[in-house]
Amino acid sequence: MSLDPADLALVRGLVEIPSASRDEARAVAWLVERMRDRGFRSEVDAAGNAVGEIGDGPTHVVLLGHIDTVPGIFPVRIEDGELVGRGAVDAKGPLAAFVSAASVRLPGLRVTVVGAVEEESPTSAGARYRATLPAPDHCVVGEPSGWDGLTVAYKGRLVAEVALERAARHGAAPGPTLTEEALAVWERVRAVAAARGGARAFDRLDCRLEGMRAGESDGLAERAWLKVGYRIPPGAAVDEIERELRAAVTAEEGTSATVTRAASEEPVRTERTSALARAFVRAIAEAGGTARTLAKSGTSDMNVLAPVWRCPMVAYGPGDSAYDHTPMERLRLEDHARAIAVLRSVLARLARGDG
């Protein structure tokens, strides 16, 4: 299956505009214009998202993909049938596929495409703003699942900082150094998380030491700092994990320990039996594939939107998520074309009420 030249120009043009998180304005303005060219009513919303709406039917579908990327750009090029460049997979490919697929107005349907800002930042400001608006009937979040996959679950996230402090001591003083105390705290935190168990990787609570500073003293106080990051499976909650962390952070006499939550997202799982999921399975079959359903350890804007909107929701988009955040991001153009065909078929099914 070959990619329409206009759809290639759209995805390549979007990838060519750098848009690291919190610096998306140029890409947003460009996408708003491209959507207007294609017949969308388009604008930049109050959060800075690129928004395009097409059709005026009673069934409302939101296709929301993030327009920001992680930092680190490298030359955009087409190589062996693949578009190479920052954001090709995560997640400008899926977002461009949304615009391409929704460009055909369908009776009975109103489709809103959102290029959301700040998904790669802890703020998730773009999705959080959209979540304040009325829920649509169906929502697709743009993330790479492969053209024949759909994602129905994401782990949650908790990032916490642990600060230890005690009065400065001579280096020859007996007892553990504050650095050793900090490492002992980390070992207790890790052991508590591991004790939860879980049959498969997705069911386990991941707990990582994501940062550490120690050995700091101004002559009056010694300080150590740990950044602990959790990936939380559905069935557990952020508050519960934070309580366990606080209980595990105990300090030696004379040392104070404080725990601060830096960022969090609840885990999410959506229905595989919804009309939307069924429409994807049938559309993928129509395109010659057998649908795979995925559960991911990362997070996405689905973590923000699903608990608020509570409508049928999946994440979908072309590309292999193994390239997420790597300096080798590449999108197979044939898969991009297939994903556009699948999305068109899904929208046509939703317009007909045929899940």
Binding site: E143, P144, G149, R200, F202, V281, A291, S297, T299, S300
Partner: protein, 54 residues
Amino acid sequence: MPKCPECDADVTVGGDAVKGEIVACPDCGAELEVTETSPLALALAPEEEEDWGE
């Protein structure tokens, strides 16, 4: 009519169902995968594939 392999209830599946489609048992709520369409056959749906990305 196919039966739920978990509770033996009758499960209605549309004639246009495709292989890989997942339906819910109306009695016990189990997620069931359409494994064959002619004749219709159901099995307990496998868990999702795991992936560490976004």
